[in-house]
């Protein structure tokens, strides 16, 4: 069985936020909603200061607390490990949002359809994507879906494809010969907040 996962090389990431922009372009999310984003972390004291960039997004955990707490079954885990939200079932209780240790879920207001990046106007791409939105008028939760539509077409997720530093790799965690598994073994990939016990499918390489 396939279990899709990702490695993110923190040594390669330059914090350009191209992944953030690619995700925005693909999903046409409203302002303030970032299915992936790059956090900045500064460590040490002058003059010995280091700065690293940590891209974050839904970790598609194999033990996802968001799925467990969802009262309607809207949050579900596919056979390939991808955690998705069925917005036609979501009631907007935000239990999943609160239960995600990584804080990577977003609530779309009821008026999100009218929210564009430019004042008083929704651009045609934004309008097109909002019309396709299965949740209809909003009032539901949304998140990264690992671009499963692209994966099913044999392509990498938009954030992986666009990364200019090649910091992100995508592949099957169950396949010991996959590039992601090799990187995790060779570089001792670390999962975020392991104490939460959620077994994320995203591994960070230092």
């Amino acid at each position: 069985m396939v279990r899709w996962g990702m490695t993110i090389d923190l040594k390669r990431c330059v914090g350009c936020n191209a992944c953030t922009a690619a995700c925005k372009a693909k999903n046409q999310t409203p302002p303030g909603v970032f299915f992936t984003r790059v956090l900045i972390h500064e460590d040490g004291e002058y003059p010995n200061v280091s700065r690293i960039f940590i891209p974050v997004q839904c970790n598609h955990c194999s033990e996802p607390p968001c799925v467990r707490v969802c009262p309607t079954g809207a949050s579900e885990q596919r056979d390939d490990g991808i955690v998705i939200v069925d917005q036609t079932k979501c009631i907007g209780c935000r239990a999943c949002y609160v239960a995600c240790p990584y804080n990577n879920r977003f609530y779309l207001d009821r008026n999100f359809i009218e929210e564009g990046y430019f004042p008083d106007v929704v651009t045609p791409p934004e309008k097109l994507k909002r019309e396709e939105f299965p949740g209809g008028k909003g009032g539901v939760v949304a998140k990264c879906d690992f671009c499963y539509d692209r994966i099913e077409e044999g392509r990498d997720p938009a954030c992986v494809r666009t990364c200019p530093a090649d910091a992100r790799k995508f592949g099957d965690l169950e396949d010991p010969e996959s590039e992601v598994q090799k990187l995790i073994r060779q570089r001792h990939g670390k999962q975020p907040i392991p104490e939460a016990g959620t077994d994320p499918s995203i591994f960070y390489l230092e």
Binding site: L10, G32, F34, R37, V38, L39, I40, H41, D43, I54, V56, P65, V67, R68, V69, C70, P71, T72, G73, A74, K89, C90, I91, G92, C93, R94, A95, Y97, V98, A99, C100, P101, Y102, N103, Y107, D109, R110, G138, G139, V140, V141, K190, P192, I193, E195, A196, G197, T198, Y204, E206
Partner: protein, 297 residues
Amino acid sequence: MVLPFVDERKEFVVGFRAQTEWKWLIAAAFFMGEIGAGMYVVSALNNYMSGALVGLLVVLVGKTAAHLLYLGRPERFWRIFAKPSTSWISRGLYAMVIFAIFGALYIAPSFDAFSWVPIDQASSGGQAILGISLLAAVVVMIYDGFVMSYSPALPFWNTTLLPVLFLSYSLLGGATLTLVMMYGSSFSNTIIQIVERLELWLIIINFLVIAVYLYTQYYSNVTARKSVMMLLKEEYSVPFIVGVVIIGLVITLIMALSFTQARLGFILVGLAISELIGDFLLRFLMLRVGIYPPVVF
């Protein structure tokens, strides 16, 4: 390494993050559900049906309304029945439905308009209905605690002490409201004394449970400690210490002791107001100090 406290969706900086989605409306729903169920339990066990009815209505009207106002898509609320196998929200709704049905069945024959309901409260069947309604009421009192503590996301909530804390606060709120209603309806002195004693013991128990909760969470991990510090020394210290501890427990205790000496209505009103302020603030502040740990390597 000292990490900042950030809203990383705006600042894109690694740090502790506050839970921002569940605020006063959810606190109000928890508050009404728990004190309503508590009131039902205390009233029904003391055979005070008017109190039990008010408790039932507080849960069914107050809690339900607050939850529906909060939902993004309230018209789909019926979908909550779908996942009792894993979701405490779903289990809570089932408990509320059972509580509503069996609670109403038990108290109905006490009121003239429903005297036709063929249930004898003293019979074994009536006692079984009471037992089921009490069990469902206890689940209504504690399930909010399980909703919050079920996920490891927010370490301050992720403890089995949370349902215990909510249970003891529910019973205290329920006992307070029952006492107010009993006094207003000139109920038997002996029963009032029993509820008074229950009130005093519950105030002491609540104080101990809060102290144990904060102590254990302070020593559990860095993120939970941050939450404790927010309550005791940082931004929420004034509402917590003044509202929850001084008004909600100390003044309530003084008022309760005074009421045992002099049965005066204004003391009871003061007792109820101070207790309910502390009761609501506790739930609100528990939601506000839920903090996510930072993503660091």
